[in-house]
Symmetry: C2
């Protein structure tokens, strides 16, 4: 019988523990419908209500200690060798299972810089120390960041195929938009039209609905995470989309640029900006391969842009995508304080990244593109059909 | 102009700071689409991508320090007196604003027992200490739990009215179900039918779709969080629902019991169990009022059930509902380890609670009901139309 994605990822987790020579991984959560450790949806899927301890050993053994009302929902998923239910307190079962595994290190989900590996809250950390007082385990905690980064970053075939489908559907909708949009529409109208198409196609959002797609008409709106407004499309103006659908839990994330007018009417500064952005992405795609560091790939595009006379973009070139549009771990970004150590991460085969950047023009606003790629053994493959020319709308 | 719900709650937060004589509240988050401090949806709504500091003062002043790309989405919400954007690091702006407020205490979002007040992760806590090193502020941190508990628990009129609407729609669908269900259907069929009605009515889920509604046919299935199965309804058997829709972000949470047969055919032990559950809820509803402690209300129903010869239920009598089906803070529960201090909380006017419990029967499985109430100045008011008799399906 084919493994579920969660079974695949749970097994992969144990393999990575072995590779890292880490004895045990402890996911320690509660009330996950309220606030969930981001890794939970990768290896479990279901919500857990009471305090729950999920234990993954480098020997391959997996054990869940969960509230008695949660056990019935967890068992049918066949993710654990044993599901241990409790009623009044998890303390004894937790101590007992740790004694069973006798781990020299216990990886827990906290990270200074990687939000995807930082699922442990301060309150739950406090409880853990309390439940394990007078045992040796609190002194054996280490960060699960290296494990989670590899686990999330190394997409299985199934994961890449879901992302590919999300990218395909995102592109399909954007292609249709070219025949829908016309001069005089508001950003909000275009946004609503795209959302209707999403509903028709049965896909959900890669990020917050109110900003998906981001629709930016004309030169006077900073891109980023502003929602659509009453701004109207106009002849001679650009139209920008930042859009991604979610398909079977996996996300796409693309940016596309349209121009209202003939190809001949594209202003020279717009064409120059477009070419620079497109070619900076191409240059980065040629530089990325397993073994390089995130900031090295970012530097290729950043330098390219600056050498073409533009100021550097004020963000990272690329982030990973997966179950989240921002999937954590290694980013292709500059060594800025706000990115912490994530740009220092090493690119691996199976990683799926965005490549995105913008440059400003004097009179026409920003020109911004974003493509999605998967890292292969020797380089990368584009999941998106690259935008090579401005899409001109009559 | 009418305040938005987020504006109301932000203002309420400052008022509660004043009441508690707490100088400043700091919400400290990043990448909230990946993992969000649960309080964020109450006072902001929008996602924030970069490290963000939201500051609420007992003077009423509110300041947000956010990444430059987040500022554009936040400003139009008019939630803050100032939105301070940053590009490379939040460190200086954060220190500067703290120096501006000169707080003697800074409430941060961590709690041992209240998941809704435990939004700060271990990684973010680490970063905060690092950014504020050599300042006096890290020694001034206190838990925001007392603030958040009051803020979430004290529903505004607007919040109660949204919950009422969610309860009404949940009841409407359950009433329709009575004319849909018949002997021989599977739990899964009934589940799917209800989900279609949810789609028709444009409402979403109070909890995980796969378990909403929970549908339990016949005697052989433990209730709780198990999903619907191929179990079939049968004459002489019970049918149980645990169901809640979400309307404008606010949740309902109800349990209802159906019986396949005439009222005369209801087995005596089922009728006795139903009466006990119904009357235990009634007894608890008569005991709840502002000023009592959560565990005191639970004890009324728990004692009632035991005095009627049943074993005590292995969960809490009630939890708060709001933007989450489990809305955190004070619960109506026993003083068990796993509930921490939350049953010791004091019930306040404006709190919205579930009242729910089950008792077992020998041959017919469990009988379980759940109602929703709002605490008034002198007692409580039912938001749900109480189930007073088993709904008999021919």
């Amino acid at each position: 019988m084919k493994q579920t994605l969660e079974q695949q990822k749970s097994q992969q987790a144990c393999e990575i523990l072995k590779e890292l020579n880490l004895d045990l991984w402890l996911i320690w959560v509660r009330e996950t419908s309220e606030m969930a450790d981001p890794v939970l949806k990768l290896v479990v899927g279901n919500d857990l209500v009471w305090q729950s301890a999920l234990l993954y050993s480098k020997t391959g053994e997996r054990v869940a200690i969960v509230g008695s009302l949660d056990a019935g929902g967890l068992e049918p998923l066949k993710l654990f060798d044993r599901v241990v239910p409790y009623t009044k307190t998890i303390r004894e079962a937790l101590r007992g299972e740790l004694d069973h595994f006798q781990p020299k290190q216990v990886a827990i989900d906290w990270s200074r810089d990687n939000v995807s590996a930082d699922g442990l809250t301060v309150g739950m950390r406090t409880l853990l120390d309390e439940y394990l007082s007078e045992t040796p385990y609190p002194t054996r905690f280490v960060s699960a960041d290296p494990l989670i980064s590899r686990l999330r970053g190394r997409k299985t075939e199934e994961e890449v195929s879901r992302i590919q489908r999300a990218v395909d559907i995102t592109q399909q909708i954007l292609a249709e938009v070219a025949s829908f949009v016309r001069v005089g529409q508001t950003e909000t109208e275009i946004h609503q039209h795209i959302r209707e198409r999403m509903r028709d196609l049965g896909v959900t959002d890669a990020w917050q609905a109110s900003h998906n797609p981001a629709v930016d008409a004309g030169p006077n709106k900073p891109f980023g995470h502003a929602g659509p407004t009453g701004n109207r499309t106009k002849a001679g103006h650009l139209l920008h989309f930042d859009f991604g659908v979610r398909y079977q839990s996996y996300c796409a994330d693309l940016q596309r640029m349209f121009f209202f007018g003939t190809p001949q009417a594209v202003p020279a500064e717009v064409q120059a900006a477009f070419t620079t952005v497109r070619d900076a992405i191409a240059a980065a795609s040629e530089a990325i391969k397993p073994g390089v560091r995130g900031h090295e790939v970012d530097a290729v595009a950043r330098t390219f842009v600056q050498e073409h006379g533009y100021e550097e973009y004020q963000h990272a070139l690329g982030h990973q995508i997966g179950q989240s549009a921002h999937d954590g771990s290694t980013i292709l970004g500059p060594l800025w304080d706000r990115y912490g150590s994530s740009p220092k991460g090493i690119v691996e085969a199976g990683n799926v990244f965005t490549l995105e950047l913008h440059v400003p023009t004097k009179d026409h606003g920003q020109v911004s593109l974003e493509e999605d790629i998967v890292v292969t053994k020797t380089g990368c493959r584009f999941l998106s059909k690259r935008q090579t020319e401005l899409t001109c709308i009559k």
